[in-house]
């Protein structure tokens, strides 16, 4: 598979989860495991552009795909994306454990608004229902997404 623009080849166990390969096999620990049952969304990555929960996907089923993790979104210590910058401005993070999964899931929403209509607040909240956060109460995250979508819409 292609991970963050790099070709990765390895023999995968048939029962290996994608999140295990990313974290333990490739050392990409930005992707988190919070629940094991696909409820919390901390493990969301992009698979061929779509956000998916990597604890619910077998590595073998992602063979030949493009996988993007949080490490593929920015360079270490480098500039933040528009979404990350908006979340920083709104302090849409506290402990930060759920944050990478949110950035990956919400990134798809922000990308899809480029040049089109910005999503409504209920649409943003609906999109966010796959990601649990216990710290922020989501408000600052929603405000951040609104800000990022507005910026993305105006850019095009």
């Amino acid at each position: 598979m292609n991970v963050n623009g790099r070709s990765e080849q390895f023999p995968a166990q048939p029962n290996e989860l994608l999140v295990e390969r990313l974290r333990d096999g490739l050392g990409l620990t930005g992707t988190k495991v919070g629940c094991d049952t696909g409820q919390c969304g901390s493990c969301v990555v992009r698979l061929d552009g779509k956000s998916v929960k990597s604890c619910l996907i077998l590595t073998v089923s992602a063979a030949g795909s493009e996988v993007t993790t949080i490490e593929g979104v920015t360079t270490p210590g480098g500039e933040l994306t528009g979404l990350q910058e908006a979340l920083r401005e709104e302090h849409g993070t506290q402990c930060g454990f759920c944050t990478p999964g949110m950035v990956m899931a919400l990134g798809e929403l922000v990308d899809s608004t480029a040049g089109g209509e910005a999503p409504t607040e209920p649409e943003i909240r609906e999109w966010l229902t796959g990601n649990l956060c216990r710290c922020t109460g989501y408000h600052s995250v929603v405000r951040g997404v609104q800000r990022a979508c507005e910026a993305a819409r105006q850019e095009v």
């Binding site: 402990c95 454990f97 944050t99 966010l128 710290c135």
Partner: protein, 801 residues
Amino acid sequence: MTAVTGETPTTGSGLLGQPLDIREDPQLLRGEATYVGDIDLPGTAHMAILGSPVAHAKILSIETKAAEQLPGVLKVATAADFTDVMPLPCIWIPGGVESHFPPHPYGLPGARPVLTGDAVRHVGDPIAVVVAETPRQAHAALAAISVEYEPLSVVTRADEALAEGAPQLHEAVPGNLNAYWTCGDKDRTDAAIAEAEVTVELDLVNQRTINSPIEPRGAVGDYNAVTGEYTLYASTQGPHNHRFLLSALVLGIPFNKLRVIAPTVGGSFGTKGYLYPDMPLVLLLSKALGRPVKWVDTRTGLMNSTVQGRDHRQHVTLAGTRDGRITAVRATSYANLGAYPSTIGPGVATALMGRSISGMYDIPAAFCEVYAAFTNTVSLGAQRGSGRAEAAFLMERLVDRYASEIGMDPAAVRRKNLVPKEKFPYDNGLGWTYDSGNYQLNFDKAIALSGYADMAARKAEARTRGKRLGVGLATYVAICGVGPSTRMSQEGMLGGTWESANIRVHPTGEVSVTVGSASTGQSHGTVFAQVAADELGIDPDTVQVFEGDTQKAPYGQGTYGSRSYSMAAPAVALTARKIKAKLVRAGAVFLGVPEDKVVYEGGKVHEEGNEENSKTFAELAMAMWYGWGLPPEIEPALDETTHFDPPDFNYPFGTHVAVVEVDELTGETEVVAYTAVDDAGNIGNPKIVHGQIEGSIVHGLGQALMEIAEYAEDGQLISSDLNHYALPRAADVPFFVLDKTVTPSPHNPLGAKGAGEIATVPPAAAVVNAVVDALSDLGVRHIDMPLTPEKVWRRLRGEAR
């Protein structure tokens, strides 16, 4: 800028209260922070824990041979391997000598073994551990351990555990009663209730809930055979506290041979401040195997082993006059401590709750009694707003019940009974002395902001849409700033509860602040830098904050009970003032003027009336490093430490208003508006506090609407993963209207009060009050939480409670 002269510096440079950007955020947003699960030491082996599948049984035998032979398995251990390890103690003993605990060999009152060998007492009770080359191999080997059980009967409710003939959990605790604890004046309260014009009563269940930080707990043990030192990396709220408990009380190793490091911690809300069996186990097994040993919990493991919260069954009574004056409140509570006393669980269930029941009201007679019981459930501990949320719930439900009984508006009843401003400091008769408050101002602001006066019209409009609109109020006082050490000793706390901070000014003028506290997501790195920079009049970007490593940081209990900004930040401020005072003394030498002519202002010292004769902070830092020309009474360098022990607690407070719509067809409850006006005294960084308040409210709404740790009769935890335990999601909550009042606390130099969890205290009461309001014309007087659609739907159909 305010000038500071001589040795009595008083105020800062105006940085506090500013919403500075959170310096932790970029790293978190890039996924670059290291949590315990991300730590990968060379040669690490992996531990898995075998938890009991049954809630109560004698262990007849444990067979581990088959597991030992599986691929990758390095070690299988049971209680028999740890006979020289002390059990984990309980250090908050609210009932004093009258408390009954499972025995501890050091004579401490409470204990749970690191692994249980004789019996299991809750589902998940740790029986054995496996260490293997990979986590998968360790987990696979658990299945090969066979344990023979003799089943015992099970009890999961506190009141039932205290009944005649109930199953017994601990030989040393007859009748499962840990403690009978009281506060307040029983005779006076009983008399006031007997004489009252009006009395109302409620039976309440404050259901058990699971804190659910998104990061499950984890621990890595690393023993160094050369130096004999142990290092524990753990997702903990209090690395120093865990070091004290583990070294002195459990492992029996010297304090200075144990280092505890809290890396980035993925939320806690109370639960990660406790000592758990996995912590000594990874250290002992690392020593036994000569390799680092790592354990990371699963979500189901967390649900079955990390302390849970709330869990009271209560009978509560309020007495008052026909015209709305409350004359007495009385509560009898059955608190469920779970199977073993957790590190501080018994104190949470008694003092934190009981002494808080009268809330913001001036009540002449109050009394609370708590029966704390052991049952076959996970141990009880703190949870965001712990104790105070349970207290606010009972009081605020009672006030609504009373208002409805006398036909008065619930807001008017509350307004009439608020502690008047001139009565502070106010002794609430239950053990707390409130430091400061302006409750009327706070309450009026919330009522105005929420549009309370327009609710009748909104109710009528909602009915045209098939919705019943209800409005619910809740006020609260939350004891924070735990704590004054002497006062805590009176509450039965075995440990110093002060905080400390060290400031080191480097020769180049940059500053390192090191604190004993440890963040679990509260942006300490930002706000403590802000405090130091504010006091010193320097650029906050030149200040770095360090914490979370016991080898580097001065002692401190850590983050809990919303204490960091009113306990650790004052230590930072006072230390900065010591630095300033020293710079004024040294400034006299460097400027060649008498000390009383030296002014410290805006990060400089200068001669009074002559700003030309000055030295900047950076120049002073370098000069103090050289130490040239200093008189013998002034030591070179700038390195100061403060241990801050406040004279008393602080008491934030507030008023919340919930507006809900109940769907007549489905019973679904939607929170359509929520107004919160909180008073946390002087605030350091509003960005941080704002986020904590929003998160806290959602946590409280979760208890009201969906969260419950549900135990089956056989003691199985039904809600043992996030498919079966509902947490609020983004679509479950609206935006909130937030405001504040500011009443500084006199008990610390920043005028700060606790903030982190305070807004979790009132929402459950506000929402239940709102739903009961929406259903009141159907004769509904109370509904137990969580207010699931089915429960509400049944009440809409007229079914009894």
